[in-house]
Protein backbone atom coordinates (compact mmCIF):
# COMPACT_ATOMS: atom_id res chain seq x y z
CA UNK A 1 0.00 0.00 0.00
CA UNK A 2 1.40 3.41 -0.92
CA UNK A 3 0.02 6.71 0.17
CA UNK A 4 1.18 9.42 -2.20
CA UNK A 5 0.19 12.30 0.04
CA UNK A 6 2.25 11.29 2.98
CA UNK A 7 5.78 11.13 1.72
CA UNK A 8 8.45 8.51 1.68
CA UNK A 9 8.39 7.25 5.26
CA UNK A 10 4.69 6.59 5.09
CA UNK A 11 4.85 4.83 1.72
CA UNK A 12 7.05 2.09 3.17
CA UNK A 13 4.71 1.57 6.05
CA UNK A 14 2.17 -1.12 5.37
CA UNK A 15 -0.22 -1.66 8.29
CA UNK A 16 -1.92 -4.48 6.40
CA UNK A 17 1.34 -6.39 6.57
CA UNK A 18 1.65 -5.83 10.33
CA UNK A 19 -1.98 -6.78 10.92
CA UNK A 20 -1.06 -10.31 9.90
CA UNK A 21 1.30 -10.46 12.88
CA UNK A 22 -1.53 -9.94 15.39
CA UNK A 23 -3.77 -13.02 15.67
CA UNK A 24 -6.37 -11.37 17.90
CA UNK A 25 -7.28 -8.84 15.23
CA UNK A 26 -8.66 -11.52 12.94
CA UNK A 27 -12.00 -12.25 14.53
CA UNK A 28 -15.58 -11.12 14.39
CA UNK A 29 -17.29 -9.29 17.24
CA UNK A 30 -21.09 -9.42 17.15
CA UNK A 31 -20.78 -10.75 13.61
CA UNK A 32 -18.54 -7.94 12.36
CA UNK A 33 -14.77 -7.85 11.81
CA UNK A 34 -13.10 -6.46 14.94
CA UNK A 35 -11.79 -2.92 14.79
CA UNK A 36 -9.54 -2.44 17.81
CA UNK A 37 -9.15 1.21 18.77
CA UNK A 38 -8.42 0.89 22.48
CA UNK A 39 -4.64 0.86 22.18
CA UNK A 40 -4.03 3.39 24.93
CA UNK A 41 -5.56 0.87 27.36
CA UNK A 42 -3.47 -1.96 26.04
CA UNK A 43 -2.03 -2.96 22.68
CA UNK A 44 -2.45 -6.36 21.04
CA UNK A 45 0.48 -8.78 20.93
CA UNK A 46 2.27 -9.93 17.78
CA UNK A 47 2.76 -13.66 17.24
CA UNK A 48 6.51 -13.38 17.97
CA UNK A 49 5.76 -12.11 21.48
CA UNK A 50 3.25 -14.90 22.10
CA UNK A 51 5.77 -17.43 20.76
CA UNK A 52 8.53 -16.12 23.03
CA UNK A 53 6.40 -16.81 26.10
CA UNK A 54 5.51 -20.31 24.90
CA UNK A 55 9.15 -21.06 24.00
CA UNK A 56 10.30 -20.08 27.46
CA UNK A 57 7.81 -22.34 29.20
CA UNK A 58 8.29 -25.18 26.72
CA UNK A 59 12.03 -24.97 26.33
CA UNK A 60 13.89 -23.46 29.27
CA UNK A 61 11.56 -22.55 32.12
CA UNK A 62 13.82 -22.19 35.12
CA UNK A 63 14.55 -19.79 37.93
CA UNK A 64 17.20 -17.16 37.33
CA UNK A 65 20.30 -15.96 39.20
CA UNK A 66 20.24 -19.19 41.21
CA UNK A 67 20.84 -22.52 39.60
CA UNK A 68 24.10 -23.74 38.16
CA UNK A 69 22.21 -25.97 35.75
CA UNK A 70 21.93 -25.23 32.06
CA UNK A 71 18.27 -24.23 31.95
CA UNK A 72 18.78 -21.70 34.71
CA UNK A 73 21.78 -20.28 32.87
CA UNK A 74 19.78 -19.95 29.64
CA UNK A 75 16.82 -18.29 31.45
CA UNK A 76 19.20 -15.89 33.23
CA UNK A 77 20.95 -15.01 29.97
CA UNK A 78 17.69 -14.30 28.15
CA UNK A 79 16.33 -12.29 31.08
CA UNK A 80 19.45 -10.15 31.25
CA UNK A 81 19.54 -9.76 27.46
CA UNK A 82 16.06 -8.27 27.66
CA UNK A 83 17.32 -5.78 30.23
CA UNK A 84 20.02 -4.66 27.81
CA UNK A 85 17.45 -4.31 25.00
CA UNK A 86 15.35 -2.09 27.26
CA UNK A 87 18.41 -0.02 28.19
CA UNK A 88 19.24 0.58 24.52
CA UNK A 89 15.59 1.24 23.67
CA UNK A 90 15.55 4.13 26.18
CA UNK A 91 19.15 5.10 25.43
CA UNK A 92 19.88 4.68 29.13
CA UNK A 93 23.57 4.85 30.07
CA UNK A 94 23.71 1.52 31.90
CA UNK A 95 21.71 -1.70 32.03
CA UNK A 96 22.06 -1.78 35.82
CA UNK A 97 19.82 1.29 35.87
CA UNK A 98 16.92 -0.75 34.44
CA UNK A 99 14.64 -2.10 37.19
CA UNK A 100 12.12 -4.72 36.07
CA UNK A 101 8.73 -4.39 37.74
CA UNK A 102 5.05 -5.11 37.12
CA UNK A 103 4.26 -1.90 35.28
CA UNK A 104 4.35 1.89 35.30
CA UNK A 105 2.19 1.98 38.43
CA UNK A 106 4.63 -0.13 40.40
CA UNK A 107 7.56 1.92 39.08
CA UNK A 108 6.03 5.17 40.32
CA UNK A 109 5.14 3.55 43.63
CA UNK A 110 8.72 2.35 44.00
CA UNK A 111 10.13 5.85 43.60
CA UNK A 112 7.47 7.40 45.84
CA UNK A 113 8.01 4.92 48.63
CA UNK A 114 11.74 4.27 48.36
CA UNK A 115 13.16 7.64 47.32
CA UNK A 116 10.29 9.37 49.08
CA UNK A 117 10.71 7.62 52.40
CA UNK A 118 14.39 8.46 52.55
CA UNK A 119 14.52 11.98 51.15
CA UNK A 120 11.12 13.65 51.54
CA UNK A 121 10.41 15.58 54.72
CA UNK A 122 7.54 17.59 56.13
CA UNK A 123 7.10 20.85 54.24
CA UNK A 124 8.80 19.60 51.07
CA UNK A 125 6.82 20.01 47.87
CA UNK A 126 6.03 17.54 45.13
CA UNK A 127 4.72 18.77 41.78
CA UNK A 128 2.48 16.75 39.47
CA UNK A 129 0.08 17.98 36.78
CA UNK A 130 -3.64 18.24 36.24
CA UNK A 131 -3.55 15.68 33.43
CA UNK A 132 -1.95 12.84 35.40
CA UNK A 133 -3.29 9.31 35.41
CA UNK A 134 -4.40 8.25 38.89
CA UNK A 135 -1.24 6.15 39.10
CA UNK A 136 0.83 9.34 39.07
CA UNK A 137 -1.38 11.07 41.64
CA UNK A 138 -2.21 8.57 44.37
CA UNK A 139 1.34 7.35 45.22
CA UNK A 140 2.39 10.98 45.79
CA UNK A 141 -0.70 11.72 47.87
CA UNK A 142 0.16 8.69 50.00
CA UNK A 143 3.74 9.95 50.37
CA UNK A 144 2.46 13.40 51.37
CA UNK A 145 0.18 11.86 53.98
CA UNK A 146 3.07 9.88 55.44
CA UNK A 147 5.65 12.67 55.43
CA UNK A 148 3.73 15.93 55.67
CA UNK A 149 4.98 16.99 52.25
CA UNK A 150 2.69 19.14 50.08
CA UNK A 151 1.34 18.21 46.65
CA UNK A 152 1.22 20.98 44.01
CA UNK A 153 -0.49 20.67 40.66
CA UNK A 154 0.50 22.28 37.33
CA UNK A 155 -2.78 23.45 35.76
CA UNK A 156 -3.63 22.98 32.10
CA UNK A 157 -5.46 25.20 29.63
CA UNK A 158 -8.63 24.26 27.75
CA UNK A 159 -6.64 22.88 24.84
CA UNK A 160 -5.18 20.34 27.25
CA UNK A 161 -1.69 21.85 27.44
CA UNK A 162 0.27 22.36 30.65
CA UNK A 163 0.57 26.01 31.64
CA UNK A 164 4.32 26.38 31.79
CA UNK A 165 4.22 29.87 33.33
CA UNK A 166 2.20 28.49 36.21
CA UNK A 167 4.66 25.62 36.53
CA UNK A 168 7.56 28.08 36.84
CA UNK A 169 5.71 29.83 39.66
CA UNK A 170 5.26 26.56 41.54
CA UNK A 171 8.99 25.77 41.50
CA UNK A 172 10.81 26.81 44.67
CA UNK A 173 13.68 25.53 46.77
CA UNK A 174 11.03 23.45 48.58
CA UNK A 175 10.30 21.46 45.41
CA UNK A 176 11.90 18.04 45.75
CA UNK A 177 10.14 15.94 43.10
CA UNK A 178 8.41 16.76 39.81
CA UNK A 179 6.48 13.85 38.32
CA UNK A 180 4.62 14.37 35.05
CA UNK A 181 3.24 12.34 32.22
CA UNK A 182 5.13 12.31 28.91
CA UNK A 183 1.97 11.84 26.82
CA UNK A 184 -1.56 12.05 28.22
CA UNK A 185 -3.70 8.93 27.94
CA UNK A 186 -6.88 11.02 27.80
CA UNK A 187 -5.90 14.12 25.85
CA UNK A 188 -3.02 12.84 23.74
CA UNK A 189 -0.98 15.89 24.75
CA UNK A 190 2.76 15.42 24.41
CA UNK A 191 4.34 17.43 27.20
CA UNK A 192 7.62 19.37 26.90
CA UNK A 193 9.44 17.04 29.28
CA UNK A 194 12.92 18.36 28.44
CA UNK A 195 11.88 21.87 29.47
CA UNK A 196 9.99 20.58 32.52
CA UNK A 197 13.10 18.69 33.60
CA UNK A 198 15.50 21.55 32.96
CA UNK A 199 13.39 23.92 35.05
CA UNK A 200 13.01 21.40 37.89
CA UNK A 201 16.75 20.89 38.00
CA UNK A 202 17.35 24.61 38.47
CA UNK A 203 15.80 24.25 41.94
CA UNK A 204 17.44 20.89 42.58
CA UNK A 205 14.27 18.77 42.27
CA UNK A 206 14.33 15.23 40.91
CA UNK A 207 12.17 14.44 37.89
CA UNK A 208 10.14 11.35 37.09
CA UNK A 209 8.52 11.00 33.66
CA UNK A 210 5.57 8.63 33.21
CA UNK A 211 6.13 7.21 29.75
CA UNK A 212 3.24 4.73 29.66
CA UNK A 213 1.72 6.46 26.62
CA UNK A 214 4.98 7.56 25.02
CA UNK A 215 7.41 4.74 24.26
CA UNK A 216 5.06 2.98 21.81
CA UNK A 217 4.48 6.14 19.79
CA UNK A 218 7.79 7.96 19.44
CA UNK A 219 11.49 7.69 20.20
CA UNK A 220 12.29 8.23 23.86
CA UNK A 221 15.84 9.08 24.88
CA UNK A 222 16.17 9.47 28.64
CA UNK A 223 19.56 11.17 28.31
CA UNK A 224 18.16 13.75 25.90
CA UNK A 225 15.24 14.42 28.26
CA UNK A 226 17.67 14.70 31.15
CA UNK A 227 15.19 13.32 33.69
CA UNK A 228 16.09 11.24 36.75
CA UNK A 229 13.49 8.47 36.48
CA UNK A 230 11.45 7.15 33.57
CA UNK A 231 8.67 4.56 33.80
CA UNK A 232 6.73 2.56 31.22
CA UNK A 233 4.64 -0.61 30.84
CA UNK A 234 5.30 -3.52 28.50
CA UNK A 235 1.68 -4.21 27.62
CA UNK A 236 1.17 -0.85 25.95
CA UNK A 237 4.27 -1.52 23.83
CA UNK A 238 2.89 -4.67 22.16
CA UNK A 239 4.44 -6.73 24.96
CA UNK A 240 2.85 -8.81 27.73
CA UNK A 241 0.94 -7.54 30.74
CA UNK A 242 2.58 -7.72 34.16
CA UNK A 243 5.95 -6.36 33.12
CA UNK A 244 7.11 -2.78 33.35
CA UNK A 245 10.25 -0.77 33.66
CA UNK A 246 11.76 1.85 35.90
CA UNK A 247 14.86 3.54 34.64
CA UNK A 248 16.66 5.54 37.31
CA UNK A 249 20.01 7.29 37.47
CA UNK A 250 22.60 4.98 38.95
CA UNK A 251 23.63 7.40 41.70
CA UNK A 252 20.00 7.75 42.84
CA UNK A 253 19.19 4.05 42.74
CA UNK A 254 22.36 3.40 44.73
CA UNK A 255 21.26 5.55 47.66
CA UNK A 256 17.60 4.48 47.64
CA UNK A 257 16.51 1.83 50.16
CA UNK A 258 15.02 -1.45 48.88
CA UNK A 259 11.33 -1.38 48.02
CA UNK A 260 10.48 -4.93 49.09
CA UNK A 261 12.47 -7.50 50.98
CA UNK A 262 13.00 -11.10 49.92
CA UNK A 263 15.14 -13.36 47.82
CA UNK A 264 17.38 -12.14 45.00
CA UNK A 265 17.60 -8.65 46.53
CA UNK A 266 20.21 -9.69 49.09
CA UNK A 267 23.90 -10.54 49.15
CA UNK A 268 23.81 -12.21 52.55
CA UNK A 269 21.29 -12.72 55.30
CA UNK A 270 21.89 -13.45 58.96
CA UNK A 271 19.48 -12.70 61.76
CA UNK A 272 21.75 -9.84 62.82
CA UNK A 273 22.24 -8.16 59.48
CA UNK A 274 21.26 -8.39 55.85
CA UNK A 275 23.47 -7.00 53.13
CA UNK A 276 21.47 -5.85 50.14
CA UNK A 277 22.32 -6.85 46.62
CA UNK A 278 23.60 -4.28 44.14
CA UNK A 279 21.30 -2.40 41.77
CA UNK A 280 19.04 -3.23 40.03
CA UNK A 281 18.61 -6.52 41.95
CA UNK A 282 18.15 -4.65 45.20
CA UNK A 283 14.74 -3.65 43.82
CA UNK A 284 13.78 -7.02 42.35
CA UNK A 285 12.82 -9.10 45.37
CA UNK A 286 11.52 -12.60 44.72
CA UNK A 287 11.34 -14.55 41.49
CA UNK A 288 10.63 -11.96 38.81
CA UNK A 289 8.34 -12.17 35.79
CA UNK A 290 10.90 -14.01 33.69
CA UNK A 291 8.78 -15.06 30.70
CA UNK A 292 7.20 -11.66 30.21
CA UNK A 293 10.50 -9.82 30.60
CA UNK A 294 12.01 -11.90 27.82
CA UNK A 295 8.87 -11.35 25.73
CA UNK A 296 9.09 -7.60 26.31
CA UNK A 297 12.54 -7.84 24.78
CA UNK A 298 10.95 -9.50 21.76
CA UNK A 299 8.31 -6.74 21.56
CA UNK A 300 11.12 -4.16 21.47
CA UNK A 301 12.83 -6.13 18.68
CA UNK A 302 9.52 -6.16 16.81
CA UNK A 303 9.02 -2.37 17.19
CA UNK A 304 12.60 -1.73 16.12
CA UNK A 305 12.27 -3.99 13.08
CA UNK A 306 9.49 -1.67 11.90
CA UNK A 307 11.15 1.51 13.15
CA UNK A 308 9.72 3.71 15.89
CA UNK A 309 10.06 6.81 13.70
CA UNK A 310 8.05 5.13 10.94
CA UNK A 311 5.38 4.16 13.47
CA UNK A 312 5.33 7.72 14.74
CA UNK A 313 4.89 9.23 11.29
CA UNK A 314 2.21 6.75 10.31
CA UNK A 315 0.20 7.16 13.51
CA UNK A 316 0.29 10.96 13.24
CA UNK A 317 -1.06 10.73 9.71
CA UNK A 318 -3.76 8.34 10.78
CA UNK A 319 -4.69 10.61 13.67
CA UNK A 320 -5.12 13.51 11.25
CA UNK A 321 -7.31 11.27 9.12
CA UNK A 322 -9.43 10.58 12.22
CA UNK A 323 -9.84 14.33 12.75
CA UNK A 324 -10.79 14.80 9.09
CA UNK A 325 -13.28 11.93 9.20
CA UNK A 326 -14.89 12.25 12.61
CA UNK A 327 -14.82 15.97 13.36
CA UNK A 328 -17.26 16.84 10.54
CA UNK A 329 -19.92 14.93 12.50
CA UNK A 330 -21.62 17.93 14.13
CA UNK A 331 -22.45 16.21 17.40
CA UNK A 332 -18.79 15.31 18.07
CA UNK A 333 -16.71 17.56 20.31
CA UNK A 334 -13.00 16.74 20.44
CA UNK A 335 -11.49 17.01 23.93
CA UNK A 336 -7.75 17.61 23.87
CA UNK A 337 -6.56 19.97 21.15
CA UNK A 338 -2.94 20.50 22.17
CA UNK A 339 -0.68 21.74 19.44
CA UNK A 340 1.58 18.77 20.06
CA UNK A 341 -0.53 15.69 20.48
CA UNK A 342 -0.41 12.00 19.68
CA UNK A 343 -2.77 9.33 18.50
CA UNK A 344 -5.58 9.78 21.02
CA UNK A 345 -8.99 11.09 19.97
CA UNK A 346 -11.23 11.62 23.01
CA UNK A 347 -14.66 13.02 22.36
CA UNK A 348 -18.05 14.00 23.64
CA UNK A 349 -21.06 13.02 21.54
CA UNK A 350 -23.74 15.63 22.24
CA UNK A 351 -25.52 14.49 25.44
CA UNK A 352 -25.10 10.76 24.87
CA UNK A 353 -23.31 9.12 27.78
CA UNK A 354 -20.00 7.47 26.74
CA UNK A 355 -21.15 4.10 28.02
CA UNK A 356 -24.03 4.11 25.59
CA UNK A 357 -21.57 5.12 22.87
CA UNK A 358 -19.29 2.24 23.85
CA UNK A 359 -22.04 -0.38 23.91
CA UNK A 360 -23.44 0.59 20.53
CA UNK A 361 -20.01 0.81 18.88
CA UNK A 362 -19.17 -2.59 20.33
CA UNK A 363 -22.26 -3.99 18.64
CA UNK A 364 -20.73 -2.61 15.43
CA UNK A 365 -17.50 -4.48 16.16
CA UNK A 366 -15.57 -1.34 17.14
CA UNK A 367 -13.72 -1.50 20.47
CA UNK A 368 -13.10 1.89 22.08
CA UNK A 369 -12.61 3.04 25.66
CA UNK A 370 -15.36 4.85 27.52
CA UNK A 371 -15.28 6.17 31.06
CA UNK A 372 -13.09 8.50 33.08
CA UNK A 373 -9.86 6.87 31.80
CA UNK A 374 -8.37 6.97 35.31
CA UNK A 375 -8.01 10.74 34.96
CA UNK A 376 -10.88 12.12 37.02
CA UNK A 377 -9.24 15.57 37.37
CA UNK A 378 -9.23 15.84 33.56
CA UNK A 379 -12.96 14.97 33.49
CA UNK A 380 -13.55 17.67 36.09
CA UNK A 381 -11.59 20.23 34.07
CA UNK A 382 -13.75 19.64 31.01
CA UNK A 383 -16.97 19.32 33.02
CA UNK A 384 -17.82 15.79 31.88
CA UNK A 385 -18.42 12.62 33.91
CA UNK A 386 -16.72 10.51 31.26
CA UNK A 387 -15.49 10.52 27.66
CA UNK A 388 -15.25 8.18 24.69
CA UNK A 389 -11.76 7.54 23.37
CA UNK A 390 -10.37 6.25 20.11
CA UNK A 391 -6.66 5.44 20.40
CA UNK A 392 -4.48 4.35 17.51
CA UNK A 393 -1.87 1.61 17.23
CA UNK A 394 0.54 0.65 14.46
CA UNK A 395 -1.88 -1.88 12.94
CA UNK A 396 -4.83 0.48 12.57
CA UNK A 397 -5.90 1.64 9.14
CA UNK A 398 -8.02 4.32 7.54
CA UNK A 399 -10.69 1.65 7.12
CA UNK A 400 -10.72 1.26 10.94
CA UNK A 401 -11.30 5.00 11.34
CA UNK A 402 -14.11 4.84 8.75
CA UNK A 403 -15.75 2.04 10.74
CA UNK A 404 -15.44 4.12 13.93
CA UNK A 405 -17.12 7.06 12.19
CA UNK A 406 -19.93 4.74 11.03
CA UNK A 407 -20.27 3.47 14.60
CA UNK A 408 -20.62 7.02 15.90
CA UNK A 409 -23.33 7.68 13.32
CA UNK A 410 -25.10 4.53 14.47
CA UNK A 411 -25.10 5.86 18.05
CA UNK A 412 -26.67 9.07 16.82
CA UNK A 413 -29.31 7.05 14.98
CA UNK A 414 -30.27 5.27 18.22
CA UNK A 415 -30.26 8.51 20.20
CA UNK A 416 -31.91 10.58 17.48
Amino acid sequence: MTEEINGAAYSHFDPELFRKDFPVLHQNIHGKPLVYLDNAATTQKPQVVIDTIAEYYKGYNSNIHRGVHQLSQKATDEYEKARVKIQKFLNAPKSREIVLLRGTTEAINLVASSYGRKFIKSGDEIIISEMEHHSNIVPWQMLCEQTGAVLKVIPMNDLGELMMDEYKKLLTEKTKIVSVVHASNTLGTENPVEEITRLAHTVGAKVLIDGAQAVQHFKVDVQAIGCDFYAFSGHKLYGPTGIGVLWGREELLEVMPPYQGGGDMILSVTFDKTVYNEIPYKFEAGTPNIADTIALGTAIDYIESIGIDQISTYESELYLYAEETILPIDEVTLIGCAEKKGSVFSFKLKDVHPHDVGTIMDMEGVAIRTGHMCTQPVMKHFGVPALSRISIGLYNTKADIDRAAEGIKKVLEVFA
Binding site: H353, V414, F415
Partner: protein, 150 residues
Protein backbone atom coordinates in the same frame (compact mmCIF):
# COMPACT_ATOMS: atom_id res chain seq x y z
CA UNK B 1 -30.56 -1.46 14.33
CA UNK B 2 -29.86 -5.09 15.16
CA UNK B 3 -32.13 -7.04 17.48
CA UNK B 4 -29.94 -7.08 20.60
CA UNK B 5 -29.42 -3.34 20.36
CA UNK B 6 -33.15 -2.75 19.88
CA UNK B 7 -33.74 -4.87 22.95
CA UNK B 8 -31.45 -2.82 25.19
CA UNK B 9 -32.27 0.62 23.78
CA UNK B 10 -36.05 0.29 23.70
CA UNK B 11 -38.14 3.37 23.00
CA UNK B 12 -39.34 3.47 26.62
CA UNK B 13 -35.74 3.58 27.83
CA UNK B 14 -34.76 6.30 25.37
CA UNK B 15 -37.85 8.27 26.34
CA UNK B 16 -37.11 8.13 30.08
CA UNK B 17 -33.48 9.04 29.34
CA UNK B 18 -34.60 12.12 27.44
CA UNK B 19 -37.31 13.20 29.91
CA UNK B 20 -36.67 11.52 33.25
CA UNK B 21 -39.59 11.39 35.70
CA UNK B 22 -39.20 12.50 39.31
CA UNK B 23 -35.84 14.07 38.48
CA UNK B 24 -35.62 16.39 41.47
CA UNK B 25 -34.57 16.50 45.08
CA UNK B 26 -37.01 15.83 47.94
CA UNK B 27 -36.05 18.20 50.74
CA UNK B 28 -36.44 17.22 53.50
CA UNK B 29 -36.54 13.50 52.79
CA UNK B 30 -36.92 10.74 55.35
CA UNK B 31 -34.39 8.53 53.56
CA UNK B 32 -31.68 9.23 50.98
CA UNK B 33 -28.55 7.69 49.60
CA UNK B 34 -25.82 8.28 47.05
CA UNK B 35 -24.87 5.65 44.47
CA UNK B 36 -21.59 5.55 42.57
CA UNK B 37 -20.34 3.44 39.74
CA UNK B 38 -16.71 4.54 39.73
CA UNK B 39 -15.92 2.54 36.62
CA UNK B 40 -18.17 4.54 34.33
CA UNK B 41 -18.86 7.64 36.36
CA UNK B 42 -22.58 6.97 36.94
CA UNK B 43 -23.59 8.99 39.97
CA UNK B 44 -27.11 8.93 41.38
CA UNK B 45 -28.87 10.29 44.46
CA UNK B 46 -32.15 8.72 45.59
CA UNK B 47 -34.55 10.55 47.90
CA UNK B 48 -37.53 8.98 49.65
CA UNK B 49 -40.36 10.29 51.74
CA UNK B 50 -41.72 7.35 53.70
CA UNK B 51 -44.90 7.73 55.73
CA UNK B 52 -46.27 4.79 57.78
CA UNK B 53 -44.26 2.26 55.80
CA UNK B 54 -45.49 3.61 52.46
CA UNK B 55 -43.34 5.38 49.86
CA UNK B 56 -45.27 8.65 49.68
CA UNK B 57 -42.71 10.20 47.35
CA UNK B 58 -39.49 9.12 45.65
CA UNK B 59 -37.12 11.03 43.36
CA UNK B 60 -33.60 11.02 41.99
CA UNK B 61 -30.91 13.23 40.52
CA UNK B 62 -27.32 12.89 39.36
CA UNK B 63 -25.91 11.81 36.03
CA UNK B 64 -25.29 8.61 34.15
CA UNK B 65 -25.79 6.67 30.95
CA UNK B 66 -29.16 6.10 29.30
CA UNK B 67 -29.59 2.76 31.01
CA UNK B 68 -28.87 4.04 34.52
CA UNK B 69 -30.89 7.21 34.10
CA UNK B 70 -33.95 5.54 32.61
CA UNK B 71 -33.75 2.77 35.20
CA UNK B 72 -33.82 5.34 37.99
CA UNK B 73 -36.68 7.19 36.33
CA UNK B 74 -38.83 4.10 35.80
CA UNK B 75 -38.02 2.87 39.31
CA UNK B 76 -39.30 6.05 40.91
CA UNK B 77 -42.48 5.92 38.83
CA UNK B 78 -43.09 2.28 39.76
CA UNK B 79 -42.34 2.51 43.48
CA UNK B 80 -44.40 5.56 44.35
CA UNK B 81 -47.28 4.46 46.58
CA UNK B 82 -45.80 1.00 47.27
CA UNK B 83 -44.99 -0.18 50.78
CA UNK B 84 -41.37 -0.62 51.83
CA UNK B 85 -41.89 -4.41 51.84
CA UNK B 86 -43.26 -4.34 48.31
CA UNK B 87 -40.31 -2.21 47.21
CA UNK B 88 -37.88 -4.80 48.61
CA UNK B 89 -39.63 -7.63 46.77
CA UNK B 90 -39.62 -5.72 43.47
CA UNK B 91 -35.95 -4.86 44.02
CA UNK B 92 -35.11 -8.56 44.31
CA UNK B 93 -37.16 -9.50 41.26
CA UNK B 94 -35.64 -6.69 39.19
CA UNK B 95 -32.17 -7.72 40.26
CA UNK B 96 -32.86 -11.34 39.32
CA UNK B 97 -34.21 -10.27 35.94
CA UNK B 98 -31.22 -8.14 34.88
CA UNK B 99 -28.73 -10.74 36.10
CA UNK B 100 -30.55 -13.45 34.16
CA UNK B 101 -31.70 -15.44 37.20
CA UNK B 102 -35.35 -14.69 36.62
CA UNK B 103 -36.30 -16.33 33.33
CA UNK B 104 -39.98 -17.15 33.81
CA UNK B 105 -41.76 -15.10 31.12
CA UNK B 106 -44.91 -14.67 33.20
CA UNK B 107 -43.03 -13.40 36.24
CA UNK B 108 -41.09 -10.97 34.05
CA UNK B 109 -44.37 -9.77 32.53
CA UNK B 110 -45.71 -9.18 36.03
CA UNK B 111 -42.93 -6.64 36.54
CA UNK B 112 -44.79 -4.42 34.07
CA UNK B 113 -42.80 -1.49 32.76
CA UNK B 114 -39.66 -2.73 34.52
CA UNK B 115 -39.54 -5.64 32.07
CA UNK B 116 -38.06 -3.31 29.42
CA UNK B 117 -34.74 -3.89 31.18
CA UNK B 118 -34.67 -7.62 30.60
CA UNK B 119 -32.45 -7.10 27.52
CA UNK B 120 -29.70 -5.85 29.82
CA UNK B 121 -28.94 -9.45 30.85
CA UNK B 122 -27.28 -9.89 27.43
CA UNK B 123 -24.87 -7.05 28.24
CA UNK B 124 -23.12 -8.12 31.47
CA UNK B 125 -21.09 -4.91 31.76
CA UNK B 126 -24.29 -2.88 31.71
CA UNK B 127 -26.09 -4.76 34.50
CA UNK B 128 -24.50 -2.40 37.01
CA UNK B 129 -25.93 0.58 35.13
CA UNK B 130 -29.46 -0.80 35.31
CA UNK B 131 -29.21 -1.80 38.96
CA UNK B 132 -27.37 1.22 40.41
CA UNK B 133 -30.53 3.21 41.24
CA UNK B 134 -32.10 0.11 42.79
CA UNK B 135 -29.09 -0.63 44.99
CA UNK B 136 -29.05 3.02 46.02
CA UNK B 137 -32.76 2.94 46.88
CA UNK B 138 -32.19 -0.25 48.86
CA UNK B 139 -29.30 1.38 50.72
CA UNK B 140 -31.43 4.44 51.49
CA UNK B 141 -34.08 2.20 53.04
CA UNK B 142 -31.36 0.68 55.20
CA UNK B 143 -29.82 4.07 56.01
CA UNK B 144 -26.54 3.50 54.20
CA UNK B 145 -25.24 6.78 52.87
CA UNK B 146 -23.03 5.74 49.96
CA UNK B 147 -23.10 2.60 47.84
CA UNK B 148 -21.03 1.61 44.86
CA UNK B 149 -21.61 -1.02 42.23
CA UNK B 150 -17.89 -1.48 41.75
Amino acid sequence: MNEELKEIYQQVILDHNKSPRNFRKIDPSTHSSEGLNPLCGDHVFIYLDIQDGVIADISFDGNGCAISKSSASIMTAELKGKTVEEAEIIFNQFHDMVTGKLTDEEEIENLGKLSVFQGVRDFPVRVKCASLAWHTMHAALHSETVVTTE
